[in-house]
């Protein structure tokens, strides 16, 4: 009896990440952002999403990955959150993948502590590793500043 879960996936710095599909409100192309001075560097700006103001968090920054090139426009993965929606800026959007619980493994100890806390674990897929993100931790810790990789 294989328990399956569906993940909405996306690519950041050539790494495949995923978030439970129920958590994702929508996926949308690059939106113009208004920058927020004095905000923590992970917050790249604010987006107008059909009248809702959504904070955009750059995943590259949050995970301590190198910055995107200036002309690469990120895509938005809008996550439902208790306080409102937050958009994660990613490089590319992937498919919705179904994964089995058995393929799950906890993150390796070699990952730096900062990043390890943000990752729930890894799903071993055919030919790829899907890194499952812990959205709550990711969005909660933003208030205390970035944790470098």
């Amino acid at each position: 009896m294989a328990v399956k879960k569906q993940f909405s996936t996306f690519v950041v710095d050539r790494l495949l990440f995923g978030v439970e599909v129920e958590k994702v409100q929508e996926v949308i192309r690059y939106q113009e952002m208004t920058r927020v001075p004095l905000a923590p560097p992970v917050v790249k700006g604010l987006i107008n999403l059909r009248g809702q103001i959504v904070t955009a968090v750059d995943l590259r920054c949050r995970l301590g990955l190198p910055e995107r090139a200036d002309d690469d426009l990120p895509m938005n993965v809008v996550i439902r959150h208790e306080d409102g929606a937050v958009s994660l800026l990613v490089d590319e959007i992937g498919d919705v993948l179904e994964v089995e619980d058995e393929a799950f493994e906890l993150p390796p100890g070699t990952l730096s502590r900062g990043v390890r806390e943000l990752i729930r674990g890894v799903y071993k897929l055919k030919g790829a590793l899907l890194i499952a993100l812990d959205t709550d931790k990711m969005l909660n810790l933003v208030t205390t500043g970035t944790r470098g990789a």
Binding site: E32, T34, L38, A39, I53, V57, G84, T143
Partner: protein, 954 residues
């Protein structure tokens, strides 16, 4: 059982409201035991709850209220007189009912509470009346007795609970122990069915009505009245009358009735209206480019309608603050009795309205503050009498609208806050250091009570004293954008002032641009807009101790630069900003404004000091080091920031040239020194000094100019009773914006209060004026101290003169004093000047500031006809304000009262004529006029010899 749940929900909502009213009524009744209407109202409420509880099967609730009702009936009928014991028992009953309602809300059941003792108590109290207990007798005027009574537990839907029925009458089947019978007054006519009305009027008998109903039941579709008439059971006229009475009553009942609306629905409406406002803004923006008159007219109509709709919807959510306050009489009564104190509660302004969400948010904080005042603020009657105060303490609640905010004041006439104790407790708990404590003034010390963990209570009661209250209060109030402040006079009482913004949702705002982005400033904080151009811009912005200020109609307005505050670096290409000014020079000047010239200047001065050390043989420097214009700090700055970004500005070029020449001279001068060639070395060093002076003055010049720029847009704002000016790049329009909260990740940034969507769909941030002001240090108390601490004579003693403050002296002459001696310039109203120890003083920042009048300090001046002695007010004075220059030394301050502050000038201080006149150091020419230089220290010394010797009190 969905319907049942709804009924229960309604029951709970209504009952809770009624219970609140009960609290108020009981307290009122206690003060005036003969108030019949109040008693009747109380009775009705309990009666209602009892009835419905029976219907819903809550037997415990029913029993408790039943006994209570009996007691109330005795009271109502005058068989018992209300006393404190009975009141407390009744209040206990109310609490018990509340408890059960809470249980019902949470679990659906009443809970397992044991109310037997309460029931016994109530029964006992009731039995203490002399007459036999017979509360079943209907008093005169009871209506529609269809059949004799029976304890009405388990009765079906109580008409007095249900809303008025519609025209199709269905009589409840008899024999029906209708609750209505228990009512002392007839229920409103509208609530009675037609049949009941007719029976009551005596024209029909119950049986006939019953028959008619059965007919209806069986399929007769005629109306009850018709059937009765046809059967001859009722006369048409009577039916007509009854119907009319019903209709009238119903009409009046409806017109004064309220409608209960789910708050969620109102929220949704608010949101929709918000969206509508945004859409309207967009259409308005778009319409400004259109010509079609029909379109424009329609747009205008849309605009008007939207505004009205917005106002109307906002009003639906406004509730009077009295809703919260209604609980307080009971709270205060209970607490006071519990503490053994006597307290009178006065409330003023309970009709002041707030948005519902705000009311929810401040309910708890206000309750805590009230409880605090009772528990800690007001003293026990004995203490009060001993202090000469009336035994009964006074707690005064006040609410009013002011300046776009709701102000709530909670004052007591108790013992006040002992600042010393607060300080000790804070030190004991290591919340502040001794150093910090010594530097705080009374107001800051008092605000320590908002720190978590601080309580000066000796005992921890179950009400308060643990020290977790005040900080939570402050946090909660600040969370909704409000402020809380405490003021206290020892022995006299304490006042807590809470201010909250009226509404959060849609506000008018001024849109400005800075650093390429748009920001919205809530109009409620906006005082005025000032635009300085050209020369005005250069002279209008002056520096006092490195802080930019602007003189606005005589008052000094501290300035803050929005770009700097937001740390918005000049990352964009400078040429597309300020392109409107068209003046290339002005562009460069505002760009130069981003460079820190003050630090560049000090870098240079430090280097020169080092050079002096080298010349005196105290340090060494190789000639190459000295001669290199790239290696010194200023050079490094110049070649990194300075030239790199602004290679086409004349000032930077001039600076570079001077700097190069400077170092050349240094290089050769040092080599002459090393070679022992005294003459040449001296010549070179003189050149060095001259060049250095030029460099410094150039830097200073640019710095002064930078603050001005070609045109400055100053937005004058008000934050927390203080005013300041915000310098922005451009000022756009005023608009109505919908305030949207920022996400959790951004909530902590104090400079932003939220965000909004502009007419073109772009997001713009809304500035939090108070947060911005605090960040820019334009409202901080502590700032002034540090300003004084940092003032070292070296800073203002540069080669080309000092900054001087020019004033008008008592004989209309011009006087000057070094700006470095000025801590602050203040303005006081004449009425605030008091006398102490034979001198004029004024209360200033919780210190007593002694005042020295220049006229008395300079006695051999011709005194003006207008007496400058403030105490003689026979002559009409020009203005009721006095200008005071505050001088501070080692924590002690003194104020010099001057006639007028004229200007700030930069001059070399070289008194030309040394006079022996007391109080001056001589006279010189400043700005082309003869000016006397004040001997400030001398003046202070002669007025108060101990000033410089006494150490400031900690």
């Amino acid at each position: 059982m969905g319907d049942m749940d709804d009924i229960v929900k309604d029951f709970l909502v209504e009952s809770n409201e009624n219970l609140d009213q009960l609290d108020r009524d009981l307290v009122k009744l206690e003060k005036d035991p003969t108030a019949r209407e109040v008693l009747a109202s109380i009775f009705r409420t309990i009666h209602t709850i009892k009835g419905t509880s029976g219907f819903l099967g809550f037997s415990r609730l029913g029993s408790v209220t039943h006994v209570g009702e009996n007691l109330l009936s005795s009271l109502r009928d005058g068989r018992l007189l209300l006393n404190a014991e009975i009141t407390s028992a009744l209040l206990a009953m109310v609490d018990a009912v509340r408890g059960m309602l809470v249980n019902i809300e949470n679990t659906g059941r009443e809970g397992e509470g044991d109310y037997n003792s309460l029931i016994e108590l109530l029964t006992l109290l009731q039995k203490s009346e002399k007459k036999k207990e017979n509360n079943q007798t209907a008093t005169a005027g009871t209506p529609a007795s269809i059949s004799p009574s029976a304890p009405p537990i388990g009765a079906p839907a109580n008409p007095s609970c249900a809303p008025p029925t519609n025209a199709v009458e269905i009589m409840p089947p008899p024999p029906d122990p209708i609750e209505a019978r228990m009512e002392p007054d007839p229920p409103p006519v509208a609530e009675l069915h037609l049949g009941e009305l007719l029976v009551q009027a005596g024209t029909t008998s119950p049986e006939q009505v019953h028959e008619a109903l059965n007919l209806q039941h069986d399929g007769d579709i005629r109306r009850l009245g018709e059937i009765l008439i046809e059967k001859g059971a009722a006369k048409p006229a009577a039916v007509q009358d009854a119907l009319q009475g019903q209709a009238e009553a119903r009409a009046s009942a409806l017109s004064e009735s309220n409608i209960r609306v789910d708050v969620g629905l109102l929220d949704k409406l608010m949101n929709l209206v918000g969206e509508l406002v945004l859409a309207r803004n967009q259409i308005l923006q778009f319409s400004s480019t259109q010509q079609d008159s029909t379109f424009l007219n329609t747009t205008q109509r849309l605009n008007l309608i939207t505004t009205e709709l917005q106002e109307g919807v906002m009003k639906t959510r406004m509730q009077p603050i009295g809703n919260i306050w209604s609980k307080f009489p009971r709270v205060v009564r209970d607490l006071a009795t519990g503490c053994g104190k006597q307290i009178r509660l006065e409330m003023d302004g309970k009709e002041t309205e707030l948005d519902k969400t705000l009311i929810e948010a401040i309910k708890d904080p206000l309750t805590h503050l009230v409880r605090n005042a009772v528990d800690h603020g007001v003293e026990s009657p004995e203490k009060r009498v001993a202090a000469g105060k009336p035994a009964e303490g006074r707690l005064f609640l006040r609410a009013f609208h002011e300046g776009g905010q709701v102000n709530i004041e909670i004052s007591d006439d108790g013992a006040g806050i002992d600042v010393e104790r607060v300080k000790q407790k804070a030190l004991a708990k290591s919340l502040i250091t001794i150093d910090q404590a010594s530097r705080m003034n009374d107001r800051e010390l008092m605000n320590l009570i908002f720190l978590p963990g601080l309580s000066t209570a000796d005992k921890v009661t179950n009400v308060s004293g643990r020290g977790v209250g005040m900080d939570v209060v402050k946090t909660n109030i600040e969370k909704i954008g409000g402020t809380v402040d405490v003021q206290s006079r020892p022995g006299h009482g304490t006042t807590l002032k809470v201010k909250i913004p009226l509404t959060l949702a849609i506000i008018p705002a001024l849109v400005v641009t800075s650093g390429g982005d748009r920001y919205a400033i809530p109009q409620v904080s906006l005082l005025e807009l000032v635009r300085l151009e050209g020369e005005q811009a250069r002279k209008g912005i002056e520096m006092i101790h490195g802080a930019p200020v602007h003189r606005l109609r005589g008052k000094l307005l501290p300035l803050a630069y929005l770009n700097q505050q937001l740390c918005v670096e000049n990352t964009r290409n400078g040429t597309d900003r300020n392109s409107r000014s068209g003046n290339h020079l002005s562009t460069s000047q505002s760009e130069l404004g981003q460079l820190d010239f003050a630090s560049a200047r000090s870098k240079h001065q430090l280097w020169v000091a080092k050079l002096h050390a080298v010349v005196e043989g105290k340090a060494t420097m190789t000639p190459s080091q000295a001669g290199s214009h790239k290696d010194c700090d200023l050079g490094k700055w110049l070649y990194s920031t300075g030239l790199a970004e602004f290679h086409d500005t004349p000032e930077i070029h001039q600076l570079e040239t001077l700097h190069q020449a400077f170092h050349e001279a240094v290089g050769s001068g040092l080599s002459f020194i090393n070679a022992g060639d005294k003459a040449r070395s001296e010549m070179e060093m003189a050149r060095v000094e001259a060049l250095s002076g030029q460099i410094v003055s150039l830097l200073t010049d640019i710095e002064l100019q930078k603050a001005a720029g070609a045109a400055a847009n100053i937005v004058v704002l008000q934050a927390d009773d203080r005013q300041f000016g915000l310098v922005v790049d451009e000022i756009n329009d005023t608009e109505e914006i919908v305030v949207k909260p920022l996400g959790k990740q951004l909530k902590g940034i104090s400079t932003f209060a939220g965000a909004t969507i502009m007419g073109d769909g772009q997001v713009a941030l809304i500035l939090d004026v108070l947060g911005l002001a605090q960040r820019a240090n334009v409202v901080s108390e502590v700032r002034d101290r540090s300003v004084n601490e940092n003032s070292s004579p070296a800073e203002t003693h540069n080669e080309d003169g000092e900054s001087l403050l020019l004033l008008r002296g008592p004989d209309n002459g011009r006087m000057a004093m070094p700006l470095s001696l000025v801590a602050r310039l203040e303005e006081f109203s004449r009425s605030s000047v008091e006398t102490a120890e034979g001198r004029d003083v004024v209360q200033y920042r919780d210190q007593i500031l002694p005042l020295i009048h220049l006229s008395s300090a300079l006695p051999d001046r011709r005194v003006q006809t207008r007496s400058s002695n403030l105490m003689s007010s026979e002559k009409e004075v020009e203005s009721d304000k006095i200008q005071v220059v505050v001088y501070t030394d080692q924590g002690r301050s003194v104020g010099l009262v001057v006639d007028r502050i004229l200007d700030i000038a930069q001059e070399k201080v070289k008194p030309q004529r040394r006079t022996g006149r007391q109080g001056t150091l001589g006279s010189m020419v400043v700005q082309g006029r003869v000016t006397e230089l004040l001997d400030v220290k001398g003046i202070i010394q002669s007025a108060d010899p101990s000033f410089f010797t006494e150490q400031a009190a900690a």
